[in-house]
């Protein structure tokens, strides 16, 4: 498709030229790295005060990577803004009048948003990992330790999919405010609760973030029916579903 590069360039311009979208990416990086390195440094100075069991089971990779929980909120906001900004000021009408084939428009937008989320997520998790291991000093681990590289890289994929799911859901809801009001409570309350309530817990483990976030830990603390990579695969299925749903709404609704 010869038009794809120019549509992708236009989408990149849109993201670059809004303060909100550009800064959420910077913020995701800063918050995650600051938390990871800061808390690791704090722990390294108080490590000796931990109980004997905590010290024995301490895993420097799992400890550092758990800090991505804070940055992922910002990636939800990024995903919402990438799509939701089209619905401010009626921008979507200008966009679809310029690019009337909606599948091409959607593909370019999702590709650029997803690619940026991927680049920033991977950069963030790797910088955060190395930074926090350095801050942990003698307690830090190495990227070559068994399972660590997969966990760090996989966490970047997990964060990417959090952003892409948010993009798809926003395309379905067609409003940034409604999308934020739906996604934030879902990811940070509903899903968390369902994932830990006995009885519905097995179902809860299949929710997108619960399935995906096992990849964060080399040693997943709770017994899940899904492994880290199968969990990530389940999350990928959710991502595909959100993207398809967003496309169906964009294709069928009047702008």
């Amino acid at each position: 498709m010869t038009t794809f590069p120019r549509l992708a360039a236009a989408e990149l311009t849109k993201i670059r030229t809004l303060r909100s979208t550009a800064w959420t990416l910077v913020l995701a990086f800063v918050i995650t790295v600051a938390f990871g390195v800061g808390v690791s440094f704090y722990l390294s100075t108080t490590f000796d005060r931990l109980g004997a069991e905590s010290r024995a089971t301490f895993d420097p990779s799992d400890f550092a990577m758990s800090m991505v929980e804070y940055g992922q909120l910002v990636l939800v906001v990024f995903g919402v803004l990438v799509v939701g900004s089209e619905y401010r000021g009626g921008t979507i009408r200008a966009a679809l009048a310029a690019v009337p084939r909606r599948s091409e428009f959607y593909r370019a937008k999702m590709f650029v948003g997803g690619a940026l989320a991927f680049a920033v997520s991977e950069l963030t998790v790797f910088v955060m990992y190395f930074g926090s291991q350095a801050a942990l000093g003698s307690h830090g681990g190495a990227i070559t330790d068994p399972g660590v590289f997969g966990a760090v890289f996989g966490t970047g994929l997990y964060l990417t999919m959090i952003a892409v799911i948010s993009m798809g859901v926003t395309a379905m809801l067609r409003s940034p405010a409604v999308a934020i009001g739906t996604l934030i409570p879902f990811f940070f309350m509903v899903s968390n609760i369902l994932g830990h309530v006995p009885g519905v817990r097995v179902v809860g483990q299949f929710l997108p973030d619960q399935a995906g976030n096992q990849i964060i830990f080399r040693h997943y603390p709770t017994g899940s029916v899904l492994g880290p990579w199968t969990g990530l695969l389940v999350m990928a299925a959710w991502t595909a579903l959100a993207l398809a749903g967003g496309y169906l709404v964009l294709r069928s609704r009047d702008a």
Binding site: R6, L7, T17, S20, S85, G89, R93, L96, A97, P100
Partner: protein, 305 residues
Amino acid sequence: MIEVRNLTKRYGPTLAVDDLTFTVAPGRVTGFLGPNGAGKSTTMRMMLGLDVPAAGDVLVDGKPYHALREPLRHVGALLEAKAVHPGRSARNHLLWLAQTNGIGRARVREVIDLVGLGGAVDRRAGEFSLGMGQRLGIAAALLGDPAVLLLDEPVNGLDPEGIRWIRTLMRDLAAEGRAVFVSSHLMSEMALTADHLVVIGRGRLLADTDMAGFIRRNARSHVLVRTPDPARMLALLTAAGIGAVAGPDDTLEVDEVEPARIGALAAADGLAVDELSPRTASLEEAFMRLTADSVEFRAADGAGR
């Protein structure tokens, strides 16, 4: 050139646009006229492929809108809602639009100068006055140097200077051979700019005519006659083969003839004439009369609901 053929749009049980057929031809300003809520904006959105018609279609240069590879090079549109993100600068808004259709940065600078946006171009669109916003919208419409321009109520809320600017621009664009299609709910506005008129009411086509023809047919003048005995006057006129109807306050509205002829008729019969004055109906009245049914219908609908 745009051909609208049997275009129909339904919102639930309501027909917003009802079997519209007309053509927007190059080299002239076509006024798209109708009362508020007549279906003008809906029609224009369908012309741009933004809304899907229930029936009928629109051809732009012989093709459906979505089949155009670079639509901005065919049709430039200014929609009523400005379609600009308030947080983005005017320059960047034009830039991404240009990129989607493979239009270069040089052209972005060109249209910025063309509409006189100069100093405000790096300000965020949300801070723009109505007039500046309209200039940005026009700049976006002109980006691809299109042969067709669709402007939805472009003078709405503008100050006199802005209105004059848009009018002159529309005339100039048509003079360059472009098809200019402009909607308005004000006949007086159209009278100053349009060569051709497409009038709709309640989504239906009421007139598709050149401006001069519309004036001839609809803005018919009459002679107002006041006399102590209107019935006798009416009989005299009818006998002479002149059409007349009763007007307000015992007056008569006589079809356009030389006032002297009416005077002579009355004099020959010894009838006194108190007033004899030629009247020219305004285009606004003609438009009101044409759309009166559709407006009344709508009001009655509303009351029944």
